[in-house]
Symmetry: C2
Subunit: 402 residues, 2 copies
C-alpha cells in the first residue's frame, strides 16, 4: 500500500543516499556563464537500465551506453555534457566517447566500464577531449551537487527539471531531465537520469522502469522530431534499509507507482518548457480499443500543429482535435465520440452541444489546458502531454544553428 509519496523539498538526484554530483563550465559551450559538464557518481555499484532513442541515427554516447548496459547492468557514474551531441561523428566519435569514460575512471578511481556517457547539443561536431579532461579536474562532487548537474545538461531549456520523492519513509527516487525541443514519443532530445537508493531486484526494477517511462516520457511531444541522443537511465544503489523489492509484489507496485509519478512530473515539466511554449496541454483519451490506440490518438492530438496553434490562439476548434484523432485512430465512429475542453463538454456522442463558447475560450487562456476525448469503442486509456505552438518556437528554431 502507498502510505505516502512525498516530494522532497529542494529535491534533486543527489537526494537519494549515496549519490554525489557536480558540474563545471569546461569550455564546450561558447557561453562561459553556463555549465556544460556534469558528473553523477554513486559510492557503491548501481543496478542500471537504460532506454534509448529509437532513431536509427544514434549518437556515439548512446551506442556506448547500449553496449555497456547490455553486457552488464551495473554502473557507478554518468558523465554528461551539453553543447555538443557527438552525433554524426562516426567511428571517431565512438572512440571519443570511450575516451571520456576513461578520463572519468582515471580521475575518480573507477573502472572504465562503470562509467556511462551522455551528450546533448549540436550534431556533427567532435567532442573537445582536452577541454573535457581539464574540465573534469574542476568538478567537485558533493551531496548537494544535483542542482548544478541539472543545470549542466540544459541546452534550450529555460528551467532545470528535477525532483525527488520519498516513498513510505523507506527510500528515495530522484530524477533530473533536460529537453525542450526535438521531443516526441520514444524520447526526443531528452536526457533523463533517475537515481534511487531503494533495494530492488533487477526484474522488479526493469519492469517498473519500462512501464513508468511508457506512461510518462514516451507520452511527451513537443515537435514530433526525435534526436540521436535521447537516453533515460536509472541507477539503483540499494543503500536504503528497505527489504529488497521483489517482482509482482505489493512493494513492487508501490515502487512502480512512485516512479511513474515522478516521471510524469518530469514529463509535464518538459512539455511546459517546450520551445516557445506558453501553455501545457494534457490530452486524455479514453475508450480506445487498447492502450496503444488511445496512446496513438492522444499523442496525435498533442502534436497536431493545428491543435497546437488553436490552443495558442485560445480557440476551441474541436474540428481540429477530432480530425487529429481521425487520422491516428484504428477506427472511429463520430456518432460515438465525446469531447471536453476543461470541464466544458463540447461534443456528446457525435452531437455538437450548444456549449458556452466564451467560457471555452476563457479555459484556453489558462496555463494548463485539459482535453478529454472518448472514442467509446474499448477500454484503452492514455494521457499525453504537449504544448502550444507559438511564433517564438519558429524564432528559436530558425536561429539555433549547427
Amino acid at each position: 500500500m502507498i502510505d505516502s509519496i512525498e516530494f522532497v523539498e529542494d529535491g534533486n538526484i543527489t537526494s537519494a543516499t549515496g549519490f554525489f554530483a557536480g558540474a563545471t563550465y569546461s569550455g564546450i559551450k561558447q557561453n562561459s556563464d553556463s555549465l556544460d559538464l556534469g558528473l553523477l557518481i554513486s559510492e557503491t555499484p548501481c543496478l542500471s537500465f537504460g532506454l534509448f532513442t529509437c532513431n536509427q541515427f544514434k549518437a556515439a554516447p548512446v551506442e556506448l551506453c547500449i553496449e555497456r548496459l547490455s553486457k552488464n547492468p551495473y554502473a557507478k557514474a554518468i558523465i554528461a555534457n551539453s553543447g555538443i551531441a557527438n552525433a554524426g561523428t562516426g567511428k571517431e566519435g565512438l572512440r571519443d566517447a570511450y575516451i571520456v569514460a576513461k578520463f572519468v575512471a582515471n580521475e575518480f578511481n573507477l573502472e572504465s566500464t562503470d562509467v556511462l556517457v551522455c551528450s546533448t547539443g549540436i550534431i556533427g561536431q567532435k567532442l573537445p577531449l582536452e577541454t573535457i579532461k581539464n574540465g573534469l579536474l574542476k568538478i567537485k562532487l558533493t551531496k548537494s551537487g544535483g542542482h548544478k548537474f541539472a543545470k549542466s545538461i540544459m541546452t534550450t531549456d529555460s528551467v532545470p527539471k528535477e525532483a525527488a520523492i520519498r516513498v513510505n519513509g523507506d527510500y528515495v527516487i530522484a530524477a533530473v531531465a533536460k529537453g525542450s525541443g526535438m521531443i516526441h514519443p520514444n524520447m526526443g532530445t531528452m536526457l533523463c537520469f533517475v537515481t534511487t537508493d531503494a533495494k530492488i531486484s533487477p526484474e522488479a526494477l526493469k519492469t517498473a522502469f519500462n512501464d513508468a517511462v511508457e506512461a510518462s516520457l514516451n507520452m511527451v511531444t513537443i515537435d514530433g522530431d526525435t534526436s540521436p541522443n535521447d537516453s533515460v537511465i536509472i541507477l539503483a544503489n540499494g543503500q536504503s534499509q528497505n527489504e529488497v523489492i521483489l517482482p509482482n509484489t505489493e512493494a513492487a507496485y508501490v515502487f512502480g507507482e512512485a516512479l511513474r509519478q515522478i516521471l510524469i512530473y518530469i514529463a509535464k515539466k518538459i512539455a511546459s518548457d517546450g520551445e516557445g511554449a506558453t501553455k501545457l496541454m494534457e490530452v486524455t483519451v479514453t475508450g480506445g480499443k487498447e492502450f496503444n490506440e488511445a496512446a496513438k490518438v492522444a499523442r496525435a492530438i498533442a502534436s497536431s500543429l493545428l491543435v497546437k496553434t488553436a490552443i495558442h490562439g485560445a480557440d476551441p476548434n474541436w474540428g481540429r482535435i477530432v480530425a487529429a484523432a481521425g487520422r491516428s485512430c484504428f477506427e472511429m465512429d463520430f456518432e460515438r465520440v465525446s469531447l471536453s475542453i476543461g470541464n466544458i463538454k463540447i461534443i456528446n456522442k457525435g452531437r455538437v452541444l450548444n456549449y458556452n463558447k466564451k467560457a471555452a475560450e476563457l479555459k484556453l487562456h489558462d496555463k494548463n489546458i485539459f482535453i478529454s476525448l472518448d472514442l467509446d469503442h474499448g477500454s484503452g486509456r492514455a494521457v499525453a502531454w504537449g504544448c502550444d505552438l507559438s511564433k517564438e518556437y519558429v524564432h528559436i528554431n530558425s536561429e539555433y544553428t549547427t
Copy 2:
C-alpha cells in the same frame, strides 16, 4: 512515345473538350468579394474515379462521393463549395449533401446520381441549403468558366492552382486544386479535380490515376494534419478523337506520364502556397530499400518542424535532416548516407565534408530548396514536397477559427 506534352496557355479545367464551369458568391462565406460555390459539368457522361481522405473522420460529401462512385464509376458534374466543410454534421449533414446534389440535378437537367458533391471550410457547421439553392440560379456555365471555379474552392489559399496540358496534340488533361493547410500525405485539406477529354478504358484510367496521385498529391506535406474532406476526382469524357487508350500499352504509359506531370505541377503549387510559406522544399530520397521507405523518409524530412524552421532561417542544419531520416527509415547506416543541399555536397558516405557553409546558406535563401539524401541500401526513390515554417503559419492558424 511522348512526342509532346505542352502546357496550354491560360489552362484550366474547362480546357478539355466538353467541360463547362461557373461559380458565384452565394453567401456561404462572410466576404461577398469572394466566390464560394462552383459547378463543373461535362456535356457527356464521364468515367470517374476518386481518391479520398484516409482520415476516419470523413465529411458528409466525401461519404456521398465514395458511395456514388463505388456503385457506378460515371458522373457528369461536381458541385463544390468553400466556407463550410459539412464535416462533423452527422446524418443531417449527409442528407444535406444529397439535397445539394438534387438541387443541381433539377436546375441543370441531370440525374441526381450524376452529381458529385465536395465541400471545404470550417468543420461542424451545417450547409445553408436555401443559400446554395439560390446561388445555383446565379451560376453561368461557360467554356472559360474554369478560372472562376478555381477561385470558388479557395479558402486560405493565396493563389488559384490550375493547369492544362495537351498530349501529343491528341487530348487534354486539366486540373484544379485548393489546399494550403491541414495538408499531409494521403490528402490534407485538398480538393483536386482533374478533367480529360481522352478516350480511355476504365482500367487504364484507374491505374494511371492511382499511380499519378501516389507520386504527386500524396507526396505533399504542409503540416502533417489531414482533413475530413480531402478528395481527388478525375472525370474523363472521351470527347477527343484519340484511339481508346488500353491498359499496359504505350498510349497508357504516355497518358500516365502526362497525368503525373500535371499533378506534380499542382502538388508543387500547393506546397509553395503552404500557409505562411516563403519557400518550396523538394526532398529527393534515393537508395531506399523500396519506394515505400524512400517515400516515408522524404515525407518525414519535408514535414519535420526542425527542418522546416532551419530552411526558414537559411541554416544548412544537416543534423536535423539526418535525424528526421533516422526516425522514419526502416534502417540506416550513417556510414553510407550522403546528403546534398542544392548542388552542394554536405555528407559523403557518412563523412561530413568541409563544405562551403556560406554557399550553402546562400542556396537556402532561394525560393526553391532542393535536398537530396541517399541511404545507399536499395533502389527505392521518392520525391516529396513541402515548405518552410514561418511565424506567419502560427499567426494564420492561431487566428482562423471554427
